[in-house]
Symmetry: C2
Subunit: 443 residues, 2 copies
């Protein structure tokens, strides 16, 4: 029919970058990641496509791609205007399908796949509206925002009425904060100096460069060896001076007692927070770590869903909530998490890095500032300076701040040539590696 | 090489049974399941293959199959004797692979896939030893059993030394309990009368039949409508009399306050437990439900891993731990959960039903009785009387009791003709349905 605008096709790619060749991204739990995305393009008949992604670190990215493809029946033929006008319906269809839900429920591969599809629909909707996602969200009324949230399992901590009251309280000043954001940007911190695979010289050089570039916070990976961490923490503190925050990140390496012991030892160097001290599922463990040593606790990049975030807040287990744009079921679930954090007065400091996570999550943090928490106090977005060149609307970070994105959509579109070059296993980058390895073996 | 016994191939099938045609298996969250398995056969060069499975309820079973296939690099070429002699190593390889771990961590699709592979290796190992898995486990020393467990994230609740002490305390009497098990079997309860899609007449008839068959406990699905549930609960109580236990199961339907309200209303009919009152991730929610109303609380079939079970026990959130044979990473992780439950003195009442879950989990409950808890008091294994005909060593339930399995292995082998008939979408059962639907459409 003329004039209709529907979803006509799913293009799903297994895209992997051979980052394990250098040690970018190395930490105590993930020694050799190949940063990857299961990348979704939702083609439509009436305009540009929508883009979404799941971030993984290599093996299993094909499973993520299969999970996204399994959502096709909910996407193909869907009218774009109705979908954009009721993004709660798509979110509900994907997360409430009883058969698919069995595979989680609401966690892991199927949940992240739902997130990629939901986010692709937000990209479509915001692009059709001619707005970046953060502005598209910030243009909604409190009632519209509340209608986007699935409150199932949340009502003991946050009701729709409470959410509405929070959003209404933040309504005055939205325009002023948006203007300030366009002028000043949003504070970032950088993890680039602190990968565990870097030697001391690299660590010190990059830490100094970070400060010179205007960052007020850096992050170090810790958790493999306490003597090493103590030395690296001392070197970093000496390099940046007392006025720059140094967060540390254990990437789930410890049990509770070990986390307490380790952070008690590192406390003299005044780490700003300890991130992922233990299992992301361990609400009570995080609470015990928080009360057992003096350093503030952060977690979230691997927290499976809003129900676990709810408990982390109920239990007083975290000082910082680290949302991730691609771990939960998309914008809708992250909106629930932003509201929970606002209810409990805990600042949100998004996890980013990986592939495209900075691009996506900046929209959520900026929307939080404009329309939910209303504050940038104690809030920073993680920044890692690699792989942005593969996106058509990469983040811009200057003087330690994210510039507010102006392009319509979710900044999730990858360059077609990057996708085709890094397709696994058949793209030229991977074919060349396979050939090279074959030569090494036969040599 | 002559004499070697290695894993030579993975056969992975997407097998689905059209159970949604009748309403077997229907509940408040899962109105129309097509009971399915992603079924794994590990072929070997030196003897019979190993068998493992992931249970799902239909859509997405192809994603599970893809996840099992993604484990091939860890399985192909693996020597069977070394694998059988160190089943902890395979478990660790599959759950500690940093790249695959990112897809959970330790939850959802990838974790269940690891469980299928681990369980297939246990099937291999026990079959090579000529023992059913429960006896194969019960023949191990306490130290051997402790070495099978991954204690990461558990040490604040259970240390290896504590586990060793628990197992040593249960060592005397192992032989006597095993003999009693062979003579008397293990108590079962039946869910067959209580599916939500059944009418009142069917419910009453099946409840009476269950009692006549010797069951001391039945289970009813609840959670869709309180008036209906009250009527059904009264009918069931009248049908079975005061001496038979009636458990109820909400399949995660409620928020905390709703669970408290609903169960307060059903309490006069003395339900034995309320199962899955809310999200399986909600440790604090379960604790609130347990303290807010008089009925005992059970959960576990959707609990993602040992870390969440640990917290349910630490928080005093459950009266019964319902392990599932195919939700976590196989026998090794279930052994951790059995030990945690024993430490906290909470009885384990396994979830079963589905496809093959009764076959698998009976081994774990019987091993628990012989060598861990040492008790059958307040313990029952769920039983559902369908789809057993597709297994070569189906469970035998007589007079309300599981007979101890005697065949070597894990009872997980499906009949080849059942697998080929129900392969999705190309098996004859599904081709016939597709054809029939085509005729309906064209008629």
């Amino acid at each position: 029919m003329a004039g209709t605008d529907t979803v006509t096709g799913l293009e799903v790619h297994d895209v992997r970058f051979p980052t394990s060749e250098r040690l970018d991204g190395s930490d105590a739990m993930n020694p050799d990641p190949d940063y990857s995305v299961a990348y979704l393009v939702l083609h439509t008949s009436g305009g540009p496509p929508g883009h979404g992604l799941c971030f993984t670190i290599g093996r299993g990215n094909d499973v993520m791609a299969a999970a996204i493809r399994a959502l096709a029946p909910y996407l193909l033929g869907r009218p774009v205007p109705a979908t954009a006008a009721d993004l709660a319906a798509l979110h509900r269809d994907l997360t409430h399908d009883s058969q698919l839900r069995w595979l989680g429920p609401e966690k892991g591969v199927m949940h992240m796949a739902a997130g990629a599809a939901v986010n692709a629909a937000w990209d479509l909707a915001a692009a059709r509206a001619g707005l970046p996602v953060w502005e598209f969200l910030a243009a909604m009324t409190p009632a519209e925002l509340v209608s986007l949230v699935d409150f199932r399992y949340l009502s003991d901590a946050l009701t729709p009425d409470e959410a509405l009251a929070l959003l209404r309280a933040a309504e005055p000043g939205r325009a002023e904060r948006a203007a300030r954001l366009r002028a000043e940007g949003y504070p970032a911190y950088t993890t680039s100096p602190g990968w565990l695979g870097y030697d001391d010289t690299t660590l010190v050089r990059l830490a100094k460069e970070a400060v010179a570039d205007g960052f007020g916070q850096i992050k170090l990976k810790v958790g493999a060896d306490l003597a090493d961490d103590t030395r690296r923490m001392r070197l970093a503190r000496d390099a940046v001076g007392p006025g720059v925050r140094i967060a540390v990140d254990a990437n789930q390496r410890w049990d509770v007692a070990e986390a307490v012991r380790w952070m008690t030892a590192l406390a003299p160097f005044t780490p700003h927070w300890i991130e992922e001290p233990t299992s992301p599922d361990d609400v009570l463990g995080h609470a015990a770590v928080r009360s057992g040593q003096p350093v503030k606790v952060a977690t979230g990049e691997h927290v499976a869903n809003r129900v676990v975030f709810k408990q982390l807040l109920q239990a007083g287990a975290v000082d910082f909530v680290q949302i991730d744009a691609a771990r939960v079921a998309g914008v809708n679930e992250n909106l629930a998490i932003l509201l929970l954090a606002a209810k409990y007065g805990v600042p949100v400091c998004p996890h980013a890095g990986g592939v495209g996570l900075c691009e996506l999550v900046q929209h959520l943090a900026m929307f939080d500032y404009v329309a939910v928490s209303g504050s940038r106090h104690d809030r920073v977005i993680e920044y890692v300076d690699h792989l942005h060149e593969h996106f058509t609307d990469p983040v811009v970070v200057e003087h330690g701040r994210y510039r507010a994105p102006a392009a319509p959509g979710f900044s999730a579109r990858m360059k077609p040539e990057s996708v085709s070059a890094h397709r696994f296993p058949d793209g030229p980058v991977w074919r060349a590696r396979t050939r090279r390895r074959g030569q090494e073996v036969s040599a």
